[in-house]
Symmetry: C2
Subunit: 295 residues, 2 copies
Amino acid sequence: MDLLDRDGLTEREFLERYRAGDYERPSVAADMVIFTVTDEEADSYRKLAEKELRILLIRRGGHPYLGKWALPGGFVRPNETAEQAAARELREETGVDDVYLEQLYTFSDIGRDPRTWVMSCSYMALINSDKLELKAGDDAAEAAWFKLSYRLLRERKELAEDGYVKTLEYELKLSSEGEELKAVVARTMTAKSTSTGTDYAIVLNDGLAFDHAKIIACAIERLRGKVNYTDIALHLMPKLFTLTELQQVYEVISGKELLKAAFRRKVADLVAETDHYTENAGHRPSRLYRRNLED
Amino acid sequence: MDLLDRDGLTEREFLERYRAGDYERPSVAADMVIFTVTDEEADSYRKLAEKELRILLIRRGGHPYLGKWALPGGFVRPNETAEQAAARELREETGVDDVYLEQLYTFSDIGRDPRTWVMSCSYMALINSDKLELKAGDDAAEAAWFKLSYRLLRERKELAEDGYVKTLEYELKLSSEGEELKAVVARTMTAKSTSTGTDYAIVLNDGLAFDHAKIIACAIERLRGKVNYTDIALHLMPKLFTLTELQQVYEVISGKELLKAAFRRKVADLVAETDHYTENAGHRPSRLYRRNLED
DNA sequence: TAAATAGTGTCTGTGAGACAATATGAG
DNA sequence: CTCATATTGTCTCACAGACACTATTTA
């Protein structure tokens, strides 16, 4: 490359002389919503265990939001990508590695961190409860798995000239051994004849730090969307599982009951039979399946 | 909030004393893939015009990548969100405002900008060719609308122990009055029994700056995906349009031919009839529709 | 009248929803 | 034998793919 710029410099010369300007720069954090599924004890030994969707939160030990619960995360360092930073945090917090990791959205609202200018590049991770055992409670920071519930609370639609504004308010509840956090997140869709836009806002926030309620809402919606047309839910399953367990996971994610026959047809290509069966179930044993890695 | 931290400070005191640390911070750019659809002149006055999908590129006037073509974009400033920065750039480059704008992905590969540490928070914008007229050629920087073609070039699948690696190579071609840019982008999906990941890489790059070939690939894939289950394509249409024109836009985005009857059934709820018709078409006139803002 | 496109009708197969019927192990 | 779940069968309905047919304008 021998092109010369306005100052008569080659690219190499330009780069040698380049000094980062004095523009203010943001800090960029990688924050993660780490999902897992756990069993809730059943009433009777003959009944099946119910499944719960949980996410990992960490209690803040310093200002700001001292004592509130936050998503695990940390700043991206100069010689890593945001994804590597997320993977590093995941390893530090849970000890697990090599799991499903997907970038969600980059939040950059001004003032979202009261200290300084911080953007959050958010990720979603899915880990199965097998791996989970490794790290029950470990280091100094207080961490806990919160049971998650996310449901539509209110739906509003206002017609404007030239379009409408639709607002969906969702209630986010997180609970873990006595702790109960609650938030309401509003998703506003503005449709005009020319443009369309979606915007999240926190309507109510009790116990969560920063704008993390938004990030969690964003993660659940992504998860719910992808459950229906990918094999993403299989990342929440252990090596071997029954189809009923898989169905329970689909149900707890989407918040809907599914019909058994239709469900089995739908996931038929995503799983592969094994010759193993459940034992001592108090009823007919169930065939165990594993994730199908064919197509 | 009267909680005190380890140093006995309230949150207010903490924030008053807070000084941004000396950690190195990245610059964050908002880069945009601006799509539009234009008509290509037909051979005969009786034939319909074909549609072309185009994106806006800007020729770099300084190092690095002097003379190469880059996506419009710029650094996010301290008192704006990344989205506002994208909207601002869009306004500066095209003069249009109030269009469909969607965040795509944040790219943070190390070394993606040879000058310094720069992340790119990328956006996709859709504008219709009506608005386009406003700004044909305007300011100092050389800008041009490039016709876009993106097709699967090669597909490879390698079985590993415990999973497989699938690589899809796409050819990206951009052309505008003599200029012809070409790139090959590989999308690698790694599936193991535990994890799954997707990764983009630039295999070949002729004429595009930075990692912008990746960003463009990412945008096309998002657009192709969403065309099938949202009304996103309507943002590329003028106020009034025929169903055949809309079908052409669907076809040029997805790269597939569609059947007329099925297509009309599919978009029936997304559009609304008007009482206007095309004129002087050299054949039967066509009813004009507009975007339906009902549901 | 011919060319070219607009717009509609209908057959068929696929697949999801719904529900029913049968199977099996623990106790 | 009963409980509770596992697993399979099948009926119906909605809908997309495929193709054909009719309608309407301009030159």
